[in-house]
Amino acid sequence: MSLLSVDGITLQYRTGKHSFTAAYRVSFSVKDGDRFIILGPSGCGKSSILKAIGGYLKPVEGKILLNGKHIDSPGPDRVFVFQEFDQLLPWKTVRDNIVFALTASHKFARREAEQRAATFIEKVDLTKFAGSYPHTLSGGMKQRVAIARAMAMGPEILLMDEPFAALDALTRAKMQDELLQLCVESNFTVLFVTHSIPEAIRLGTRILLLSPQPGRVKAEVESEGADPARIHEMLFDGDMKGGNMHV
């Protein structure tokens, strides 16, 4: 049985009289232990799909089931890692950001939360910075804290919305390796949104390809041995105008 099943969801934004369809009848399912990548160019609604799974956006049709249960609001069983650096609470230190997440969500008692926070800070190699406030950290370090925080919460599924997109290329490559290692180590189920084909192939076990405006499923491929040029072709039907794709 699949952990997460997304069944024909359509997502729309309304502004006054106009409505904009971000994703149209998208279906896929994620199994336990998958690193499932949603890949597509800007404007294909991939972030909206992730928000819907997070419970922040209600589909106008279709349904989303996590372990067979309907998703209708945000909750600590699906933890988000965002692209933005301001996702850490600036008034809490690195350690307290994680401890707060664990205790506020009632997942762990205070003492256990502190131990867990220390373990995961260690995993992302930030022990020296556990007492630092986020504004003193670099962008890459902030994202590592966010990942540590999300993993420490022990969610059913990690939802990552282009967490490395705002990083420089070197840091990004390093972070990809680190994330991969952490996921393999602890067998996390991850749903990862990106517009970068190499990132998708590098990180994912399976890749869902979306076409833009509105987002529709083009294909689903195994990332093992996938060919970037072939994926690019599939995304754009051989039409090489897809200018904003990173190959």
């Binding site: 997070g54 922040y56 600590p76 988000f80 996702q87 600036p90 008034w91 969500s105 504004h135 003193t136």
Partner: protein, 256 residues
Amino acid sequence: MFESGAFRKVVLLGLLAAVWEGYGRWLANPLLFPTFSNTVIALISSIASGQLLRAVSFTITLLLKGYVAGLILAGLLTAFASATRIGADFLEILTAMFNPLPSIALLPIALIWFGLGDNSVIFVLIHAVLWAVALNTYAGFRAVSSTLRMVGQNYGLSTVGYITRILVPAAFPSILTGLKVGWAFAWRTLIAAELVFGVSSGSGGLGWYIFENKNQLLIPNVFAGLLTVILLGLIVENVIFKTIENATVRRWGMQM
């Protein structure tokens, strides 16, 4: 030593005191302009007699009453504005109308409504505090980034927990600005109210102390009163609020 800002300022203050002393001596008319040394003597003897401290504690007590009442009302108004659209419109209209109105202008009408005494002063103090705090707090809440909001919702907090543990700290830089502006308005308003109208005659605050000493032509005492007003203002703004700021927004790297 000249590199230290504090040192330079102390030197300047010393110079100012010297100029004051010199002018006072040259003028030799203590009724118009007492010397610095006479003012300091008056200040010390007023403190020693307990007269000045009584006036200060009276003024501060009154100020705190008005300030706290203003904060509570501002909290309610902001909650209303954040919860409903009509509340937001309401807050916008009220602040647009009343923010430009100096509180002291309301004192005559407050005297008619509430009579001579504390209640009238508290009324104008509330007016001084309310709009600045409500406006800044509301703006602060609205400026909380959608990412932080989503992070907060992700933890499955209750509504109250979400407000007190995510929204309030996230908006704290704006809230603190509101508190500071509100305090500055209230302080100036209160001294003016006591001074010009002698509202709290008999009970006697700091403004009243200045007013009364002027009537008795005890001009060094008047200057001592003014000095006290300045000192208290400096302490609140540069010690109390500064400490809060250093312990919070500065430490968090959130200062605006």
